[in-house]
């Protein structure tokens, strides 16, 4: 049915009642003062609320601008050579991700397509790691997306612990003292995982010449209470790949069934493209699970990691919760629940946008740049601690040559570079190599050769400057930079109670946790 309607004449629109016509008031309401710009408003002259919620509202433009301006104090991600985490994505990917902000990833029923995209990513990544595929119930890899490698590692550890426990219970043996074997160069989340899930940590210590685990020593540490071995594909200090094949073969030789979890947080998206022949993944029998960070060399913004198990058998059923929702059942094994779907969509975009060829092209470029930087630094007199030409991650770890009469150390160089805007971190190496200090440059996607050149120039400059200074002035200047140029030096948020903890590797030995 069509409604007929008349179009009102001009004088009929906004027709006022007879009596109101003359009483048309012309008052100005002073309370509503409009300003020309955000900076003309009273909010620009006030403190932003910091500790308590304001009673009244703030116009949205003002709130936006104030926060945006506040955030301009953050550093320039381009000059941050400390972090592996992606800071560049294509515009199309950004658009796609921005459109998906409001999607809740775990809401499978509402966003089935996003869930399907996760499954595709798991499948692609699993195949990239040569995971066994199969259709029946026992064969075939399973995997899930996580917020990052930390969550992925905790899930991996939980699964190993539960399997070990189930086995011990079945054998009628005690399951009170589980332990895990790992390198002392592990990322802090491994220490967290063991602490939070109450597992004893057995460290394989590094030496001054060897920054990765020694396979012999590692396997020697295994006992009946060992839930598994952690091997790192690309340590955060020197980027070196641990010899996972050797560990695997030794285990086989000794007839042990200890599982291996590969922490490929950084290396998982590098090794398959740069050194495809390196055997580190599911091609090795003992590897039961692998984690990888999508937000590192997976080239996605922070918030996505992946973990893949060889088959459902390695993921004890007790740990999997089923969530039924409007008829659709989903198995869930996560520590987080609601989270954004953007990053998973971003990961799928990168995987199909770049393809193997695209990833290979990027990783090859990064390897080239890293080699170039290594060579240049060697020419400047530094000792290179990282591997070259694809034998490790595209990062350069270097230190000053041993020299008695030098007044400055690696930390001084780092501070000097900081004043120039570069964030090049200095670390104290893992325990037993205590006195070894080092600097590390992570070569990320957006670190081109020309930027590499300016970094080299600046390193040379700061070295010169430091050589000309005496010990006192170096010390003073360092204090100054530490106080005024670094954020953590200025930080006031650290709780005094938790300062100088003594329970972690760092607290005990002074090892610095490398940022990842």
């Amino acid at each position: 049915m069509v409604h007929l309607s008349t179009i009102p004449a001009k004088d009929e629109v906004n027709k006022l009642a007879e009596g109101l016509k003359k009483a048309h008031l012309q008052l100005v309401n002073d309370a509503d003062s409009f300003t020309t710009t955000v900076y003309g408003s009273r909010f620009a002259a006030q403190d932003l609320p910091r500790h308590e919620m304001p009673e009244g509202e703030m116009p949205k433009e003002v709130a936006y601008r104030m926060i945006k301006d506040e955030l301009s104090l953050d550093n320039n991600p381009m000059l941050n050579l400390a972090s592996f985490v992606t800071t560049y994505m294509e515009e199309e990917a950004e658009k796609l991700m921005a459109e998906s902000f409001s999607k809740n990833f775990i809401d499978y029923e509402e966003y089935p397509q996003s869930a399907d995209i996760q499954n595709r990513c798991v499948s692609m990544i699993g195949r990239l790691f040569n995971a066994p595929v199969g259709t029946d119930e026992t064969a075939g890899a399973v995997g899930t997306s996580c917020v990052g490698s930390s969550e992925a590692i905790m899930l991996g550890v939980l699964a190993m612990k539960k399997r070990w426990k189930n086995k011990r219970v079945a054998e009628g043996k005690s399951c009170e003292n589980p332990n895990i074997v790992m390198s002392s160069a592990v990322q802090v989340c491994w220490e967290k995982a063991t602490r939070y899930f109450e597992i004893e940590e057995k460290f394989v210590y590094c030496t001054e010449e060897r920054y990765v685990i020694d396979p012999e020593e590692t396997v020697a540490l295994v006992d009946e209470n060992t839930i598994g071995i952690c091997c790192i594909l690309g340590t955060t200090y020197t980027g070196e790949y641990e010899d996972i094949k050797a560990v695997n073969d030794l285990l086989s030789k000794k007839g042990l069934s200890t599982p291996i979890h590969v922490d490929a947080a950084s290396g998982g998206f590098v090794a398959p493209f740069v050194v495809p022949d390196l055997e580190w993944d599911f091609r090795l029998d003992h590897v039961v699970s692998i984690n990888v960070s999508g937000h590192k060399y997976g080239l996605v913004y922070p918030g996505v990691g992946w973990v893949v198990w060889r088959s459902a058998e390695y993921l004890p059923q007790e740990l999997v919760f089923n969530i039924n929702y409007l008829g659709a059942d989903q198995a869930s094994f996560t520590l987080n629940f609601s989270k954004g779907a953007s990053q998973v969509i971003g990961q799928y975009y990168q995987l199909i946008r770049l393809g193997k060829h695209g990833y290979k092209a990027i990783m090859s470029n990064l390897t080239r740049t890293a080699d170039y930087l290594s060579d240049s630094l060697e020419a400047l007199g530094f000792i290179i601690m990282s591997k070259k030409s694809g034998e490790g991650l595209p990062l350069v770890a270097f230190r000053l040559p041993p020299q008695e009469d030098r007044n400055y150390d690696e930390f001084a160089v780092a501070h000097q570079l900081r004043a120039r805007g570069w964030v090049v971190p200095a670390y104290t190496m893992a325990p037993n190599t205590e006195n070894l200090k080092m600097l590390r440059v992570v070569v990320r996607e957006d670190f081109t050769k020309s930027r590499c050149d300016s970094l080299i120039a600046d390193i040379k400059l700061s070295q010169h400057l430091l050589e000309q200074m005496d010990q006192d002035s170096i010390k003073k200047q360092q204090e100054f930079i530490n106080k005024h140029h670094t954020a953590s030096g200025k930080a006031t948020h650290n709780h005094p109670k938790y300062r100088r903890e003594k329970h972690s590797l760092q607290g005990k030995t002074g090892k610095t946790h490398a940022i990842c």
Partner: protein, 565 residues
């Protein structure tokens, strides 16, 4: 009706793929195609978009963008999803802030100091909102010279992480106490109601704490029964999870009553059992709404409450990916759980399960807190509650439905607080029972007697066809004979939309009443097949519970969790 053969859709697709024209030579496999539009690429018509294996070669950015964008159109409409508490609306400015800060890593404190400072402010604001300050003042007024509490807190990815952290801290403190007393630490347990969200159970399972799940009853308003708490705690209880805002019916669990019972218990036995308040949904509703909790205390004003968590992405009005946890005092957070990260001479302390993660949500949380202010949040919560009341009343007015939630029921006159002078003319939630803006309803008994063949599940299914997502599920163990339909009223549920929803529910019910049993059996068949099956067979071990799915009526004791938050 004509006879038809069974059609297997998989078969057709398979057949179609065989028919597909082989990639022509003009499209070289290296992807160098003429690129007029995003759709002039083999992915547009001849080649499958890669699903299970990373393709050898890439594709242009705009093509991939269009393909994925179009594919994502198949996702539901966030605004019509009435099943979820998670916020789906962002103001333009907030959206802009999100997009600008998408690449920032919350864990990289040295690189993003401004973001870190914003996160600290949020923790501080929330701690105050939840009564940290208040207690301090009171004690000084009372003359009790207790030391000041120093609240500590942290942003998390969501309430799940927050609950794990809160629970772990309680477990560790319990272990420390036991060890100090020279007792064993083998059998920790934790007490919670059967209406607990799956994250609480996950905590118990993953951190090896025995879960003592107490059944719910109509008397306890389908949530934790304080009387049962008394019988279930012992010296091995690390704490009690009290949920402020049950996800099933929106009732608040009586924190103060539980606290009093635990006080009594401590007097009798000397065992001090802390409370963690899971205020995932209620943490941003209770402080702002006029109704509050309905008159009792729930936050840090109760000394027994050691930690509170809330989801920023629920009524905190941020999109998915942010939660908060605050401990009343640093002593509630054992030192050996904290890891220090040294970095360029500075130090960071960390107690999280996740490390690198996006920080944009934290920024938007701060934007909301200062943009809306107290009065802005109050307005939003009051609107949500008012809309939820209208929906409840309309549903009950039909005579077919009755509400299990109580927010539309007037409080007994004696408890009505006098409205503030400037609010005389508007009715606020204070005149009604307190609860989350959630409407849980079911068919009345009379209706079920009259139309025994109409299943509630079918109503949910038919509404789905009109794009509304309203889940139907059984109440938690103890009351799981009752099924409810649940609508969560979020900020983006406008009055107009509400009107449509009521109309649609009424129309759907009327349609069903007109049909006889034979017609409806078709629908049930449809449902049994599993409505939209997600990620068929490729998901994580779906086979395990496929049987339960076929039953269609998974219950929590079978390990099937039905409510999503």
């Amino acid at each position: 009706m004509s006879l038809s053969r069974h059609v297997d859709p998989e078969d057709i697709i398979h057949h179609l793929q065989d028919l597909r024209i082989p990639a022509q030579s003009s499209y070289s496999s290296t992807g160098q195609t003429s690129h007029l539009t995003p759709f002039s690429h083999p992915y547009a018509s001849q080649r499958d978009i890669p699903r299970y294996q990373i393709p050898a070669d890439g594709a242009p950015g705009d093509t991939v963008y269009e393909m994925l964008k179009d594919e994502l159109d198949l996702d539901g409409r966030p605004n019509l999803n009435l099943a979820s508490f998670v916020d789906t609306y962002l103001e333009d400015n907030a959206q802009k802030l999100m997009a600008e800060n998408m690449g920032k890593n919350l864990a990289d404190n040295d690189e993003y100091p401004a973001m870190l400072s914003i996160s600290n402010r949020c923790v501080s604001i929330l701690a105050h909102l939840w009564g940290v300050q208040k207690r301090k003042q009171k004690e000084t007024e009372g003359g009790a010279a207790q030391k000041d509490d120093k609240a500590v807190g942290s942003p998390t990815v969501g309430s799940s992480e927050a609950i794990h952290l809160g629970g772990l801290a309680m477990k560790r403190r319990w272990q420390e106490r036991r060890r100090a007393a020279g007792k064993d630490t083998l059998k920790p347990n934790i007490v919670m109601g059967a209406n607990a969200q799956v994250a609480l159970l996950k905590f118990a399972r993953y951190f090896e704490v025995e879960e003592r799940v107490l059944p719910v009853s109509e008397k306890s308003k389908f949530c934790l029964d304080p009387e049962l708490v008394r019988e279930s705690v012992d010296e091995n209880t690390i704490g009690v999870f009290v949920i402020l805002g049950s996800t099933y019916t929106g009732h608040y669990e009586p924190v103060e009553a539980v606290s009093e019972i635990l006080d009594e218990y401590q007097e009798k036995t000397g065992v001090d059992i802390p409370i963690h308040v899971d205020a995932a949904s209620g943490g941003f509703v209770v402080p702002f709404s006029h109704a509050g909790t309905g008159g009792w205390k729930w936050n840090f004003e109760l000394p027994r409450v050691v930690s509170i968590n809330a989801s920023g992405h629920k009524y905190g009005l941020v999109t998915a990916g942010v939660g908060w946890i605050v401990w009343r005092d640093e002593s509630c957070l054992p030192k050996d759980l904290i890891f220090e990260l040294h970095y360029l001479g500075g130090t960071e302390e960390s107690y999280t399960l996740n490390f690198s993660r996006p920080g944009a949500q934290v920024i938007v949380q701060y934007y909301n807190l200062i943009h809306l202010g107290f009065s802005g949040y109050r307005e939003v919560m009051e609107n949500c509650l008012a809309n939820a009341r209208i929906l409840s009343q309309s549903l009950e007015a039909t005579g077919w439905y009755t509400c299990v939630s109580d927010i539309h029921r007037r409080r007994s006159p004696t408890t009505i607080t006098t409205p503030l002078p400037n609010e005389v003319h508007t009715e606020t939630s204070a005149s009604y029972a307190a609860g989350l803006p959630v409407v849980a309803f079911r068919l009345t008994d009379e209706f079920r007697r009259e139309y025994p063949h109409i299943k509630q599940q079918t109503i949910s299914l038919l509404l789905r066809a009109r794009q509304w997502i309203i889940p139907n599920y059984a109440l938690p163990p103890g009351e799981n004979g009752t099924e409810i339909l649940r609508v969560v009223v979020r900020v983006s549920m406008s009055f107009d939309l509400l009107d449509r929803l009521v109309t649609d529910i009424v129309q759907v019910t009327e349609t069903l009443m007109d049909k006889d049993e034979v017609d409806l059996s078709v629908l049930r068949e449809q449902h049994r097949k599993g409505w939209p099956v997600v990620g068929k067979g490729k998901g994580k071990g779906e086979k395990k519970k496929e049987e339960a799915e076929r039953e269609g009526e998974g219950k929590m004791q079978d390990g099937i969790h039905r409510s999503v938050c």
